[in-house]
Every structure is written in structure tokens, then in C-alpha cells.
Symmetry: C2
Subunit: 414 residues, 2 copies
């Protein structure tokens, strides 16, 4: 029985492993968390709208009853393609096929000062830290002098993609509906929320309508959108922009770019821009037999995508589906299928009743887009109970204008 080792239980890795349930392969699924995390809703954890557990799903629960799937909670340190093995925190593991699905992490583009002081949001832990930090800063604002208070209240979000737009909108709604009730001693007119984007518009990857609407929704919620603006420095107290402007803030959320989670051991010539791994149309790493890369970490060039594919969940899922078929094809010595991405559009939600949806033949915004966004995300979330709990939380928030999880919980006491 061939042994398939999958590194990473994000969208791509989890999807592939689930397809391989009860198939004639020995599958090892390795992740540095013991759960799959649903990245599209990190921003709701960060803004006290959902509990971490609602969007995290224990891997062992997914694979109960499937004896051919072995889950290991471990870090992977290095790949040895020549030996067909990997080095991990729990020892060396050999493979017949290796699938690298390690995803992407925040890219600070080499700015170490920003990296040290800004708040990223690319994991559940980071989303929780963000929640803790913002709530802690509000508490501090109660007892701070005037200058410090401004920095504690102001929030700057960097990056006008879906994540930046969604977190800006959620924070703006908190500022309107929740915070003045929670902190009657603070003046929230003094809280300014800025969304900073280097390009000329928000949601640049979507349609012109979606871009324009998202910006007008953000303005409506009181977010100051600063396009064509770059961050040059951030010391934890003041952010400096390329045009020389400065804003005092102790809350800088960084959602401005990603880079692949590379693992040591691959030759340099297979590494593309943004720490991605060059793969052929079968997701096989260029020139390395039996090693595949999927999803955000994979860099595949096609006629339609000469600069690689977008780093989104649908690409990851579709690549996993094709690789699954190709693994069976390899087994049965059939011809392999080439991956071809069919973009079915995108969506983002700015606030209650405010979302934008681009479908291939239909673009719509507003209330129905918002309903559609919620419906789709509920469908995509793993597990009936998670769907139910998220649905209850969303309905609750909708009718009470409240986000319930304003807890500063730290688990690092001992």
C-alpha cells in the first residue's frame, strides 16, 4: 500500500485526505494544529463575533472510523526528496507521495519593525490575540492620558483585500453598536478607523461594481479609506505612510499580503515569488518526482494565469480534487488530468446587510449579497453543530446588534 504524507490540514490538505478515506492508501496527515481552521471567518473571531471553536474542527473527529488515515500533530522541519522522507518534531517520516499543503502566512515584505509591532490575522491564535489586544487597549484607554488615549482608540487596517475590508467593517460596526454601551466613559468620536490600501481601490481582485460598493459601504460605516497609500514604518505607537502622513495608533492590523509557508529542503530553482513552490499542471513540484504542492503554496502557470493562481480556498479545493483523481490515475497507470481553474467569482461582506458578490453571470450587492454570503459560508463550514452554532450567533448578533465574545482570555498561565 502506497504511503501518502500530506503536510497541512488547510482547505487543500484536508480535502485531499477526506477524499482518500477508505481508499487503498496509507495516509498521514500532519499539521501544527490539531484542528482544521476556517480562515474566511478569522475576522469574526478577531472582532468578538464568533468563538474560535465555531470555526475550528478537530481533525481526529473528521477522520473517526477511518483506519487508513493517521493524524499527527507535529511541526515539519525539512524535506529530504532524495530519501523520500521528511523530518518532523516527532521524528522522520518516509513517504511514497508527499503533498505540501502548508498554505501561506502574513507577508510583511521584510519590514521588521512592522512585523514586530503589527497584528497579523492568519491563524486562530493570531485572531484571538487581535481580539485580546483591541479589548485590552480599550481598557487601557479608560485610564490613559489624552495623547495615549488617541493611540489606544485608533485602529489602522492595512490591506484592502477581502480580509482588510471585512475586518474594517466589523470593527466599524462594533464602534457604532457595541462599544459606546460597553464603555460609557469613553468618547468614541475619538476613535478613528482607517483602511489603508497601496493600490487605487479596495477589493481590486473583484469587479468594478464590487470595488466601488465596498468603498461606499465602508464610508457609510465611518471607515476612512486611504487608497494609494503605503505604510513605511510602525513603532507600535505611530504609523508612518509613504506620503509622510502619520497616525497615532496602538492597533495596526496587517492584512496586506501573504507568503508561502516554505519548508527547508527544496532546491532554490523551484521557489517562485512570494515563497511559492513551482508546480506543473498536475501540481507536481517541478523536477521532483512524487512531491506535490497544493493551494496557496503552489505556483502554477497557465495561459489564463501567467502569474500564478489566486491564493484562495476554491483553487486549493479544486487542486485537491484533481490531485486525488491523478493519484488514482497514477495507481492505475492512466493518463493524468491537467488542472484548469474555473473562477466562479468572489464575495466579501462589509457589515450587516452590506456585502458584495461577483458570480460569473451575475453581480449583486447589499442585503441579498449579504444573505448569499452567509448562506454560502454556513454551507462551507465543517460540521452540523458548527453550522448551527454559527447560525445562532449570527442571528443573535443581527437582532441584538451585539457581539458576545468580548473576552480577554489567555491560556498561557502555566
Amino acid at each position: 500500500m502506497k504511503k501518502i504524507v500530506i503536510i497541512g490540514a488547510g482547505f487543500a490538505g484536508l480535502r485531499l485526505a477526506r477524499k482518500l478515506k477508505n481508499k487503498n492508501f496509507e495516509v498521514w496527515l500532519i499539521d501544527k494544529n490539531n484542528y482544521h481552521q476556517f480562515q474566511p471567518l478569522f475576522y469574526q473571531v478577531a472582532t468578538s463575533g464568533l468563538e474560535p471553536s465555531s470555526i475550528a474542527f478537530p481533525l481526529r473527529k473528521v477522520f473517526q472510523h477511518y483506519k487508513n488515515i493517521h493524524i499527527r500533530y507535529a511541526e515539519v522541519y525539512e524535506i529530504y526528496p532524495a530519501k523520500k522522507s521528511i523530518l518532523t518534531s516527532i521524528g522522520e517520516i518516509n513517504y511514497d507521495y508527499l503533498v505540501i499543503a502548508t498554505g501561506a502566512d502574513t507577508n510583511f515584505f521584510g519590514n521588521q519593525l512592522v512585523e514586530k509591532n503589527a497584528l497579523p490575522m492568519k491563524s486562530l491564535s493570531e485572531a484571538l490575540n487581535l481580539r485580546n489586544r483591541i479589548l485590552q487597549n480599550l481598557e487601557n484607554a479608560l485610564v490613559a492620558d489624552k495623547d495615549t488615549k488617541a493611540a489606544l482608540l485608533n485602529i489602522v487596517i492595512v490591506g484592502g483585500g477581502p480580509t482588510g475590508v471585512e475586518v474594517s467593517g466589523a470593527l466599524a460596526e462594533m464602534k457604532i453598536h457595541v462599544l459606546p454601551k460597553d464603555y460609557p466613559e469613553l468618547d468614541f468620536n475619538k476613535m478613528n478607523i482607517y483602511l489603508v490600501e497601496a493600490g487605487s481601490k479596495t477589493l481590486a481582485s473583484m469587479s468594478t461594481e464590487a470595488s466601488a460598493k465596498s468603498e461606499s459601504y465602508l464610508n457609510k460605516l465611518g471607515v476612512n479609506v486611504l487608497t494609494s497609500t503605503q505604510v513605511t514604518s510602525y513603532d507600535g505607537n505611530e504609523v508612518v505612510f509613504s506620503n509622510g502622513d502619520k497616525i497615532k495608533t496602538k492597533n495596526l492590523i496587517w492584512a496586506a499580503g501573504v507568503k508561502g509557508n516554505l519548508i527547508k529542503g527544496l532546491p532554490e530553482n523551484v521557489i517562485a515569488k512570494g515563497n511559492r513552490i513551482k508546480v506543473n499542471r498536475f501540481n507536481e513540484v517541478e523536477g521532483i518526482k512524487d512531491v506535490f504542492a497544493l493551494g496557496d503554496i503552489a505556483f502554477m502557470v497557465t495561459d489564463k494565469y501567467p502569474n500564478g493562481h489566486p491564493q484562495v480556498a476554491t483553487v486549493a479545493n479544486n487542486q485537491a480534487d484533481i490531485l486525488f483523481k491523478n493519484i488514482l490515475n497514477l495507481q492505475n497507470q492512466k493518463t493524468l488530468i491537467q488542472f484548469e481553474y474555473k473562477d466562479r467569482g468572489g464575495m466579501a461582506t462589509v457589515g450587516r446587510n452590506l456585502a458584495v458578490v461577483d458570480l460569473p453571470f451575475l453581480k449583486f450587492q447589499g442585503f441579498f449579497a449579504w444573505l448569499f454570503w452567509m448562506f454560502l459560508h454556513l454551507m462551507l463550514i465543517l460540521g452540523v453543530k458548527n453550522k448551527l452554532l454559527i447560525f445562532i450567533n449570527w442571528m443573535w448578533s443581527y437582532f441584538t446588534f451585539d457581539q458576545s465574545f468580548r473576552l480577554i482570555i489567555k491560556s498561557d498561565k502555566k
Copy 2:
């Protein structure tokens, strides 16, 4: 307007503050967490049955709309009774009346080695750490040698009071229903769960029936109950008992005693056994005017309770009620009311359909006791949404035999 400073938002402090809403007092409620935590269900967080947020309630949410209540998220370092002020992490705060409701923490009775290595469960953070540790040890067991594996699987719970009994039962049910499915590679016959009690029986504070039943329920679930046994040492790998016996375990849960969370600044003569503060029948600290102590930290002697009152939620709540009335009485120069505790009984749950309930005129065990226990806890939990979410989780677990929150989540990354 008189200024009342309450230290601690546990049962007693929160109850008093809620009674003082919209009353003619300036109230400051100070806690080291920004939420009230519902201690009776910590064990369910520790055993993956409930999410922390289900049993934590943001203080600011409780007091929205009440402008006379000021919440401060701070540590209290010292009390200056002569100056009528306290020193906190956010500066000095003066008071007209001070209420100490700081509760109790785990008592290791001076055994530093045990304190260093055992897992306490007296806060939400500690309950989460316990969950993380047990799950992490199971993961480690997959790749451990035989000797280490035994230590990783074995669980020893010290203390046969309600907490010890409840956590033992919950872990035993996890061992039966959940873990073999999650870890098909591990042999759970090798996992032994021990409940160790220094006295002669479990639930010694309850009726003989309840004690006897709780032990038989535990046996039924496969827990080894070791009574009249004391822990003398624990190095993190092996626990040593007073009779010389030893058990290898990396999971030692300590629920064997509590001591008051004392704050510096009170004279030594008001400190009683177990770090409690001596109070008179009006909960006023002996000899210190305008300083009160409530709940677990208070040591009040009455004819019925010559050794002080039990450190349970009902005493805390009742004392808060009486103190509220007495504060109004002081204001109106009326006679103060003496506190008198009416014990309405106790209860504990061992597992599904297995609970024991002692009421003044009725003692019952089994399924109806379990229903009664659930009903009462749901009533006591703050917030409609929390009640709803807990109810759904309980029903879900009941019908699926599953506990859903088997997540190792750490929030301490940055």
C-alpha cells in the same frame, strides 16, 4: 454619593454590583478578568464539553446602561485601610466602603513540587490549560515508548469533592465514548483514571447516600477511587502516595483544597485558617470599619458554623444579598441584619444520567438528579444566549456521545 469599591466579580462581587445598579452609590467593580466566570462548569471546559465563552460573561455587557457602575480590569496589590484606598495596577483608588470578594485559589498546602507540576482548575485559563495538556499528552502518547506512554495516558485526580468527582466522571466518559474513536492507534485499556481522596469517602460534605452513590457511579465508569490516600510528592512523571504506592502519570489534576486570595494590607489578626478574612455577622472585617469581605474569602463563625461557612456559591450569593440590604440600612441609619446561612443542599454530576442531589427534604440520585442538575445550572448561568448555547451543547453531547471542543488552542503566540 458614597463610593463602593468591590474587588472581584465572582458570585459575591457580581451579585452585589448588580443589586447596586441604578442605586444612589458610585460603584467600582474591579476584576483581574474582564468577565465573570461560572466556576461550577470549569470541569466541562477542561474536558472539551463546553467552550470557555459559554461560561464566561463580559462584565461590561452585564452593566451596559448603568452609569453608576464603573468597571476596571486591573489587579489589586494592596489595601490601605487607614487612608481608605487601594493600590491597583491602574493606580490608587479610594473608597467609602470596600468589599473584598476575591474568592479562593487552589491550595497545594505548601507542597511546591506538586504546585509546580500539577494541573489546577480554579480559573478558565487553568481549565483551558488542562484541556490543552491532556490532549497534547494523548498526541505525545502516539509516538512515545511503552513506559512514557503509560504515564501520558494515566490520569490522577486529587480531591474527592464535587470538582474532583465531576472531572473524574467526565474524563472517564471521554475515555469510553470519544477517545477510542479519536485515537484508534492507542489502546485505552492502558489508560487508568484514579480519583484520590485523603478522607474516607467521596463527596464527604453531602449525605451518606450521595457519597455512596457517587463512588458506585465512578466505579461503574471505570474510575479507580482511592480513599484515605494522600499525595506526598509529584515530580511531573510519577505521583507518590502516603502509603508508599506510586503511579506513573503526566496528568495530575489537583482539586484537593482552596485558600483565600488574600490582598496585602490587612492586619494579621484578621486572617483565619486557609487565608480567609475574619468577618462579623454583617460581613464586616473584624475591627476594620467600612471594609467587608464576602464569599469564599470571608470567615464568619456562627453557632451553626463554628468553623466557618462552606466555600460555595450559595453562601457567596446570600452574603451579597444581606450586605446589599445592610449598605442601604447604613445609609438610612437602620439596624443591620445578621447573616444566617440556610443550607439548601448540594449536588454533583458524575456522568450522563448519573448525578446526586441532596435537598433539605429530599435526596435523589440517577437520571432525575442529572436532569435536575442540568436544569439548575442552566438557570444559574448568566445570559439567555449562554443558556441556549450550553443547552444545545449538552443535548448534542447527549445524543452523539461526543464532546466537540477537542482543540489545542493557544493564544500566546505574540
